[in-house]
Amino acid sequence: MSKTRGPLRKLKKLFSSRWLQIILGFTSIVAFVAVWAFVSWYLVESGSGNAPYVPGPRAVADAFFSSFTSVPILSDPEIGYYVTMWDLAESSLVRVMTGFFVGLLLAFPLGLLMGSLRIADDLGRPIVEMLRPIPPLAWVPMFLLIFGSFWGPAGIVFLGAFFPILLNVIFGVRSVDPTLVDAARTLGAKGHHIFVKVVMPATIPYLMTGVKIGLGVAWMCVVAAEYIGISGGAGLGYWINLSSIGHGLYSYTYAAMIMIGILSVLTTGLAGLLEQRFYKWSGMK
């Protein structure tokens, strides 16, 4: 019995372990790339007119890595002027972070206010409900015209991040366990104590949910906002437009798309890490 049980258990352990997760995850990525390579190859072989639009993984990888030394068109080797993927990513990242943090800094206190004060909610709610259904991207042309190439996209990001954070914080304030408030009151807490020592900490998990959603929306916003021709401080969105429709360098388009994916995952991951640190520090989970 024990002879067969030993290795069997080991095998079972292996397959239920984190390693299996990693292996499975890796396998699915390999499968995805393989399908991609096949589609690209097939389009070329069958002489399809769409073949140029689907470069293979190899070409995209080449474009991706070479972009870190310089991207074509924007760079001018003759005068030694190079624009790299780092530059493009930095421009987009700074716009995202600016818009996002302005959104966070406004949405958190406003959410606390609207969540806890009836009059603030009555005043703010109609405006929120009027503006929220308008997709942030609908504002793109007007924001670019009014605010220019930096604050225009940053403003779109702001709109995208602001509402999810605001609504989550309002919801968080309303979800505070009323017995905690009762407990605080019987311990002698007045309104401002309850706000600072009960409502605010209880709302932070909801704030973090809003932050993560807001960050995801922020990246969608910046790409679309940059997409409509911003040459000043060109970002990834601009390069996606220029490389594809402008110059037919489709491998570079995909390379820039991958970069956006990476940045979005990184920033959202960072927020998730921050959230976990908060939970660990506060002992809430």
Partner: protein, 264 residues
């Protein structure tokens, strides 16, 4: 333990809840005096307003009419002179045991040194030594309620209000916590008003048991337990008091059930 001065005095307390067009009389003409250092248990069928009595005394709700006096002074709002212990513990999950216990002291503006001195004293009293830095989610139900009791006591209130504090604990822990409460009571001499569903718990803890009527809640009967402590749950005397309380209560349960079946 029990002194003769009156600690809490309910004078013709009534509470009417308005739900839409319906008026629900939760309490009617509830009058009761509780002496200093006394343990009084409120017992009655669900919805008889026992918790309402406690919440009015805590200042969490206002009576529709009548008065509550604490050592002769009428109660207007919640305050640290009445500590409350909740069935759901109501601990702040982001605060450690020590920080939970110090909440009332922080609010009062007590200096950090004095705060930690006081919280240490109550951590010792309720038997939480070694758990000062734990968060509530790391504690068992019984331990959580020890924090709840210490937190209420740290404010050094005149009275302790307990709303089915052991209702969500398992039977063993519940019995242990009842003994612990009596130990803490003996050490602090607090007046305790204790709401419970359990006849056994009431007979084990109380100096007097107040049996309330089904809604609208009134005082049906006040029973002196009159048994020396520590009480033996298996003794003849204990069982006889228990029987007496049960008989009173059963009638009210029947009335509550009849009312439920034929709503007005």
């Amino acid at each position: 333990m029990v002194r003769n001065e009156v600690s809490i005095s309910f004078k013709a307390l009534s509470k009417v809840f308005v739900k839409g067009k319906k008026q629900i009389v939760a309490l009617q003409d509830f009058s009761l005096d509780i002496k200093q250092g006394e343990i009084v248990c409120l017992l009655g069928p669900s919805g008889c307003g026992k918790t309402t009595v406690l919440r009015i005394l805590a200042g969490l709700e206002n009576p529709s009419s009548g008065d509550v006096l604490l050592v002769g002074k009428p109660i207007k709002k919640a305050g640290p002179d009445r500590g409350m212990v909740f069935q759901e513990f109501a601990l702040f999950p982001w605060r450690t045991v020590r920080k939970n216990i110090e909440f009332g002291l922080e609010v009062k503006g007590v200096t950090p040194e004095k705060r930690s001195e006081l919280s240490s004293r109550y951590i010792d009293l309720v038997g939480l030594k070694g758990f000062e830095d734990a968060h509530p989610k790391e504690l068992s139900g019984g331990m959580k309620q020890r924090v709840g009791i210490a937190r209420a006591l740290a404010n050094e209130p005149a009275v302790l209000l307990m709303d089915e504090p052991f209702g969500s604990l398992d039977a063993q822990t519940r019995n242990l916590m009842q003994k612990e409460l009596l130990r803490i009571w003996a050490a602090t001499g607090k007046t305790i008003l204790f709401v419970t569903h359990s006849v056994d718990e009431a007979v084990f803890l109380a100096d007097r048991i107040v049996v309330m009527t089904a809604r609208p809640g009134m005082v049906r009967e006040v029973i002196e337990v009159g048994l020396p402590r520590p009480r033996d749950r298996t003794s003849r005397e204990f069982i006889s008091v228990r029987g007496k309380v049960l008989t009173e209560l059963d009638e009210e349960f029947e009335k509550a059930r009849a009312k439920e079946l034929s709503p007005d």
